[in-house]
């Protein structure tokens, strides 16, 4: 905690001493003095109002969805469980600059009312030959499409269910190393491999405390491929495939006495695919623009019972879980500066658990539909209204929940460029 505080204090110090308006590499030549070497700075403020009609709140239901049970082996992450009423997602303080002709760096601190986290802190090469690039630090995995996007870049206020249930609030964001290669093909083809330390809050949880085995990192490996064919004019397409595998540990409290009583460890992995199609209409202020995107995940958990205080006979037996899910969403600029969006998602089309006692269980699926409209007064601000209607399969049966979000976002400072 003290370390985190130090990081935030020093980042604030840099922000304060920087003082002057941000200077991008583009205009560095025009601004005199040493200020030109200050990193690009920007601040993102993201707040929303949320209300739902469930008894215990949507965050609780997310933890109870059948087949995607919550594990308790995770380390020290804070949860962004949404509350009814006002929520401040976080304030993002971003900095980036070239260190020298060989490396560039960036850091993002996510500050909220409970404290602060280092969201990303990354180094990357800028001059490796033959289309190679190395990246290290704490960063978002580039698998799929949505994972590498920060929450304020999403086209809906909340994450798709499959992301939330498989990888948690932060997606796959971890300390590690990434190597990517841009193939010398006439179309876009990018391949990447990543090794992560392995302390995701949901899928690659690690505690290492007895009786769970202690494993050295890196404990997670990821590989992905992205392809972008040459479409004419205002049409753009990217599709990809990905897979990840790593070690996973869980600790459970079966009798509900507040003390952990059985422990599992093994492998967790997922594979899937993603696509994004964009049409950029030749009209001003985003009118007529269209985006269609979707992603599919299939998750396989393969664990062994390491210790069991209540049923020692089960020790050594295996438990496997197989779940999947997808989302598909469309966005359309129906007026200048206004966009409308529709998202449909399902999880648990495959939803099966083979338990340590030799029995199997299959569960039903959950689904959700989301509708949103947002208004962007300028490139630097956005107001969004979103309504979700979900039907969730939980241990207490099917639960229907309606949610409403009203979101307000601002971005201050350096002009952030948009990636695809």
């Amino acid at each position: 905690m003290f370390l985190r505080l130090c990081v935030v204090v020093s980042i604030f110090a840099v922000v304060m001493t920087a003082g002057t308006p941000s200077v991008s590499a583009q205009n560095a030549t025009q601004t005199g003095g040493l200020n030109a070497f200050n990193p690009d700075l920007s601040v993102v403020v993201d707040m929303f109002y949320h209300a739902d009609d469930s008894e215990e709140g949507i965050s609780h239901i997310m933890e109870e969805i059948s087949g995607f049970g919550h594990s308790h082996g995770e380390g020290e992450h804070h949860h962004h469980g949404v509350e009814n009423g006002f929520n401040l997602r976080h304030v993002e303080l971003q900095m980036s600059a070239n260190a020298d002709p060989y490396f560039k760096g960036s850091a993002i601190a996510a500050v909220d009312t409970d404290g602060a986290e280092l969201e990303t802190a990354e180094l990357e090469t800028s001059s490796l030959p033959c289309g190679f690039k190395l990246r290290g630090g704490k960063f978002y995995s580039d698998f799929g499409y949505l994972n590498a996007q920060h929450s304020h870049q999403w086209d809906f206020t909340d994450q798709p269910l499959i992301y939330k249930l498989c990888l948690g609030d932060h997606g796959l964001n971890d300390k590690g190393l990434q190597a990517t290669w841009l193939a010398p093909t006439p179309f876009y083809l990018l391949a990447g491999v990543e090794a992560f330390q392995g302390d995701n809050e949901t899928m690659f949880a690690y505690s290492g405390e007895a009786p769970l085995p202690s494993d050295d990192g890196p404990r997670v490996g990821v590989a992905w491929l992205k392809c972008g064919p040459n479409l004419p004019g205002n049409h753009a397409l990217q599709f990809g495939a990905f897979g990840a595998s790593g070690s996973h540990q869980e600790a459970h409290d079966a009798d509900g006495d507040g003390a952990e009583d059985h422990w599992l460890a093994g492998d967790n992995s997922f594979w899937g695919g993603d696509f994004v199609y964009k049409f950029n209409a030749p009209l001003a202020y985003g009118q007529g623009d269209f985006i269609l995107q979707g992603e599919y995940f299939n998750r396989q958990k393969d664990l062994n019972v390491i210790a069991h205080d209540l049923a020692p006979a089960l020790v050594g037996n295996s438990r496997t879980d197989n779940q999947d899910g997808y989302y598909i969403q469309a966005l359309y600029g129906f007026l200048p500066r206004w966009r409308g969006g529709l998202r449909w998602e399902q999880v648990g089309l495959t939803n099966q658990s083979d338990l340590p006692d030799g029995t199997s269980e299959s569960y039903g699926g959950s689904s959700r539909i989301g509708v949103m409209a947002d208004f962007s007064p300028s490139e630097f601000s956005r107001i969004r209204l979103q309504v979700n209607q979900g039907s969730y399969e939980t241990a207490d049966g099917k639960q229907d929940v309606s949610e409403v979000y009203l979101q307000w976002m601002l971005s201050l400072g350096a002009h952030a460029a948009h990636k695809f």
């Binding site: 991008s24 205009n27 841009l182 972008g228 964009k278 300028s378 460029a417 695809f420």
Partner: protein
């Protein structure tokens, strides 16, 4: 036997390679079609030019298509406008291309705004003023004198990227500049009778055109750069247009022509289809000079027609 065939093939291929290399055109990428047109003019057969932005779309908002990354990876010379024209989409493409030649400041990455004196450099950098550009207005290519300077930069950059053809680039650039100078005199003469005329535009894209040809283009349908017209602001514009007898509204292809037509119908003004980019309007595709011809002819015809009654 097999060995000798392979050996012969290798020999043939290795002989062919330098020939291919010498005959291989230089890969030039321009962000917008005005730079592309000039690069084609100067490069001739020795270059292949790819333009990223569609000529009819707003160069501030271009989808950073993944396929552009593949194009930039094999680019020998990149020509951009600079001055934040492409700041919203080009930097991630260049970074994604991993092409060491395209790092800003290297000779193969030309930002044409460098070395030009830009208008409207804001004294206060505050986005409450709208989406303003810290380095000045980046729509400088509708002044042929700026186009002349840009042609010189592009010619030099081509010569550096492909020294074997340097003489040819120099010669072609001289031909282009001579033609441009002659044309500029014609355009100025053609627009001379309308000096001092006030014209309305949708977006503040024309300060350089106005300065060169002696127009005043300081009224915009947008209340602030990048903010769409509001009814109150349009009512103001209609009032000013009536009071000052302003007869022409310039509209670019991606801007809302209906808004301009509404204002025109209330003021008796004419809506003119204008474009900053060769190819943005039918009949402007052939090159920079043909594109400027269109602008000058269209505007002078409209103003001459309005003066008759």
């Amino acid at each position: 036997m097999h060995n000798s065939i392979i050996w012969n093939l290798t020999l043939v291929l290795s002989l062919c390679q330098p020939i291919f290399a010498a005959g291989k055109p230089l890969n030039v990428v321009a962000t917008t079609s005005d730079f592309g047109a000039i690069a084609r003019e100067i490069g001739g057969e020795s270059v292949t030019v790819t333009v990223l932005a569609q000529p009819g779309e707003d160069a501030h908002f271009v989808t950073p298509k993944p396929s552009y990354i593949a194009k930039l990876a094999r680019t020998d010379l990149l020509i951009e406008g600079g001055a934040e024209l492409e700041v919203g989409w080009l930097p991630p493409l260049i970074e994604g291309s991993r092409n060491p030649r395209l790092v800003l400041g290297r000779p193969a990455h030309v930002a044409c705004a460098e070395g030009l004196s830009l208008l409207e450099v804001p004294s206060i950098r505050d986005r409450a003023q709208g989406d303003i550009h810290a380095m000045g207005n980046p729509h400088y290519m509708t002044d042929p004198v700026n186009a002349r300077l840009v042609a010189e930069r592009i010619g030099n950059a081509l010569a550096v990227a492909d020294p074997a053809q340097a003489d040819q680039y120099r010669a072609r650039r001289a031909v282009f500049t001579k033609r441009l100078d002659e044309k500029l005199a014609v355009w100025q003469k053609q627009l001379e009778p309308f000096k001092g005329t006030r014209v309305v535009a949708f977006h503040n894209s024309w300060p350089y055109f106005a300065r060169r040809f002696g127009f005043t283009i300081d009224l915009f349908l947008e209340p602030r750069p990048g903010i769409p017209p509001s009814p109150a602001h349009l009512a103001d514009i209609v009032g000013t247009m009536k009071r000052e007898k302003i007869r022409v509204i310039l509209v670019e292809p991606y801007q809302n022509r209906k808004t301009a037509e509404t204002v025109a119908s209330k003021t008796g003004a004419a809506v003119l289809d204008f474009t900053q980019y060769p190819g943005g309007i039918k009949g402007t595709e052939a090159g920079y000079i043909e594109f400027m011809d269109y602008l000058v002819n269209t505007l002078s015809a409209a103003l001459a027609g309005e003066r008759k009654p």
